[in-house]
Symmetry: C2
Subunit: 490 residues, 2 copies
């Protein structure tokens, strides 16, 4: 692939100077227009030409309005970043609708560099390649205009630069690490080829730009950015999410929820005893996780009145406030709506040593958003895969993901709704919406069955919890959480 | 002051158990109600009882709904935090309207601890005390319900704990640092007294709680939180910002703007030469700032068409993208509106080594918000003091704040507006609003004069730039920025 970009293309001075002013007008106008558009643009600027990357990045800022470019240079991971899954840093700075983000360096170059310096092995490189591919896919699926430019310096040119660097080190703008990488870049070619091949997808192909000749390179970059932006701006705006009735037939075969024995229960005495023991165990585990820097995510889903809040309280009672954070997931803010739906969760991942407890979660995409028609069928349909990939990245980082579905039968739910009418707690007062949700029970059941079937992976299985009896449910949850933490916190 | 809390108060077991259930109902209901309120609550939980702090923090989470408490424990500064002004970490986690934040440990305890361990001297302690006082004041002014609880352990009790800790170290839940602090706490009493005295303001008094007896302490904390919240929720909601015509008489005496000689200009040749030299100088300074970890803030204010964008571009042309970020300040997002108006700027402070370039800034409070009636008179009137304090903290951290007002006369503005009609750049196309702003010129002039008079401090002076001649303006700005950086980047 790289060879295809080694054609010795050049651009004359006159052609360059004639083309540039018009290009700049186009770029600035397109940049102005995207501010009101309903999609973000992401320019991935990578390549094997280190000097070129810096030059092109600065040029983009000179040609365009630097106030509306959000550029991030990804070099060696910082200490703080190492406490999170590897792709956390990319998610943090994702542009929202109307914004242009620039990832400089980015996944590809980092992957090659870490491989050359021995910081990652083949298995890790393959994983990262896969994550890069999926991140790109999911961004494009959500509407991001993704433009990927790879600046390629032919080997002969690279060797010339190395020679010059050795002879006149004062003239060279390369860091020691970059020089070291250059020395060994020949070895990296197969890996670069594989990376380019596997991440050149229909949705987001790489555009290879020969970077030996500066005018050619600069003009090419400017044109690619301009063309991509102008083309997309000319397209009719994306349709708003269709509020069509989702495809929710009655379950065709009895599923896992139906198979659940909801009659299990636990006598009060046994409950008390086991709860005390489990809370002690969780307290100790919390301390160990803090010491060992192990973070985790515990997810609670379930219908209204299934008892999520009560279970969560039994957990937090047994933990130090410093060691957990409860995230109640309600309707997204306007900033969150302008971003990929997983962004709000990536932003809130717990730092090393802490637990994130989710009261509802990213599964909203395939539950409430699906059933209520808040996501289009194609949006929720690709949610399963996106979520599996997200959780895989957490687990790979050493962060257990423990997921619970709390199941109650309709009679128990109604009973609990009625009991709430007498409770002194305002937050339990019912709204008409609660009753509406009850009516959609069948639709939710189909969505839950499919969710469990498609996202109960060996890395992050679902735990179905019969919750008609609160005591039994709480004990099962605490036990499962303790076991999951014990597997990682030696 | 501390002595007043040493009365040996106790609460019997029966009284405690009878009081608690009702208190919890009240707490949970109040917590539910605040979610729709138009103010945030901030509980500052500090004191000289280390064990007590942790216990009370966990208790609050047990009594209340932990999903809607956002607690942060402030211990020793982390490495990342040291790259920012000291109070940056508090601003990062400020609760928004409808939220309850808990600062545990917080300014007071940190100040005492750093003093005892010799990490800060008397001067720094005084500065921090002053910043704490002002932060509290500004939060209360903006509507935050601020409740400050200080858990006090009498010296006799503390000595008992120390003795026990030496005898049975396994039973004590104190870190080594906390034990070390306890050993020397007698010395700290004058400092604690001074801190409590100086930060016990009308707006936010300290509530001292004797913490030797646990039931008394717990009940007291719960009641204070409940009472503060219930009282505030019962108050009529704050009036929406009054859109009254602000007090903007014509200037009574010719001010600094009128005294500015707008006719200065620079021939093209000289401009070119000096620009090249200044851009080289800025490039070198950028590298030095990066190496030395020096961050800075450069602020541009000025009427429409004053040439802010052009000046900024002349700066960024001479810098590496990694070393600056341009912040265009437009209308705030809904999340920003729910927070103190300075929050959005604290959140965006540059990390060590970088420059924040503001295209409009926090001065919007005393300019556009004042003139357009978007802030109430009392809001913008206290803005000057708040801004001075904010900038003082940046400068104390070693971060120069360089502020420019670009001034043009009405004829030049009209001329530039007309010229824009022919420009190919869409972003320069005029809107009716531009012409409206022109009509308010007198009102803006009064606001600018007052802003300059009240916020041009020795730490962060305003630079008034005659900008009828763009070349002259650009050179003056670049020169001023270079000089400011040279003073700090040795």
């Amino acid at each position: 692939m790289l060879e295809t970009a080694e054609v010795g293309a050049r651009v004359g001075k006159k052609e360059y100077e004639e083309a540039l002013p018009g290009l700049r007008v186009d770029l600035l106008n397109a940049q102005f227009e995207i501010r009101n558009a309903d999609f973000p643009m992401m320019i991935v600027l990578s390549g094997d030409d280190f000097e070129g990357l810096g030059e092109v990045l600065n040029l983009l800022h000179a040609w365009m309005d630097p106030r509306y470019l959000d550029a991030h240079v990804f070099g060696v991971q910082k200490d703080e970043e190492r406490g999170y899954p590897r792709f956390w840093r990319y998610w943090q700075v994702l542009p929202g609708c109307g914004q242009i983000g620039v990832y400089a360096g980015s996944f590809g170059l980092g992957l090659v560099a870490d491989h050359l310096t021995g910081e990652s092995d083949g298995h890790e490189a393959a994983q990262r390649l896969e994550h890069a591919r999926r991140l790109e896919q999911t961004l494009v699926d959500e509407g991001t205009l993704l433009l990927k430019l790879w600046l390629h310096l032919p080997a002969t040119e690279r060797r010339k630069r190395l020679k010059r660097a050795r002879k006149h080190p004062e003239t060279v703008r390369l860091t020691d690490r970059e020089l070291e990488l250059y020395e060994r870049f020949d070895e990296a070619e197969p890996l670069i080829e594989a990376f380019l091949r596997k991440t050149s997808t229909a949705a987001a192909p790489w555009i290879l730009i020969e970077s030996s000749h500066l005018r050619h390179r600069n003009l090419r970059v400017a044109r690619e950015v301009r063309d991509a932006l102008v083309r997309r701006l000319a397209e009719p705006p994306a349709e708003p999410p269709a509020v069509t009735p989702p495809d929710l037939r009655a379950p065709t075969a009895p599923g896992m929820l139906a198979a659940l024995d909801l009659d299990v229960s636990l006598p009060r005495d046994e409950y008390r005893q086991r709860l005390d023991a489990l809370q002690d165990r969780l307290w100790q585990l919390g301390l160990r996780c803090r010491e060992q820097g192990i973070s985790s995510a515990v997810v609670f889903e379930g219908s209204d009145a299934a008892g999520k809040g009560g279970v969560i309280r039994r957990m937090t009672q047994a933990m130090d406030v410093r060691d957990y954070r409860v995230l109640p997931v309600a309707a997204p803010t306007s900033e969150e709506i302008a971003h990929h739906y997983l962004w709000r969760f990536w932003r809130r991942l717990p730092r090393a040593g802490r637990m994130l407890i989710c009261d509802r979660s990213w599964y909203g995409r395939v539950l409430v958003e699906r059933v209520e028609g808040l996501a289009t069928p194609s949006e929720w349909a690709r949610g399963y895969e996106e979520i599996n990939d997200f959780e895989e990245q957490l687990v790979e980082h050493g962060m257990p993901v423990v997921k619970f579905w709390l199941q109650i039968d309709p009679e128990t739910q109604l009973e609990r709704f009625r009991a709430r009418e007498d409770t002194p707690y305002k937050k339990y007062k019912l709204t008409p919406e609660d009753h509406r949700n009850r009516e959609k029970r069948d639709a939710y059941e189909v969505a839950v069955e499919e969710m469990v079937a498609r996202t109960s992976t060996d890395l992050a299985p679902w735990h179905l919890v019969p919750a008609n009896d609160k005591r039994h449910a709480r004990i099962q949850v605490l036990e499962t959480v303790c076991e999951a933490l014990e597997r990682v916190a030696g």
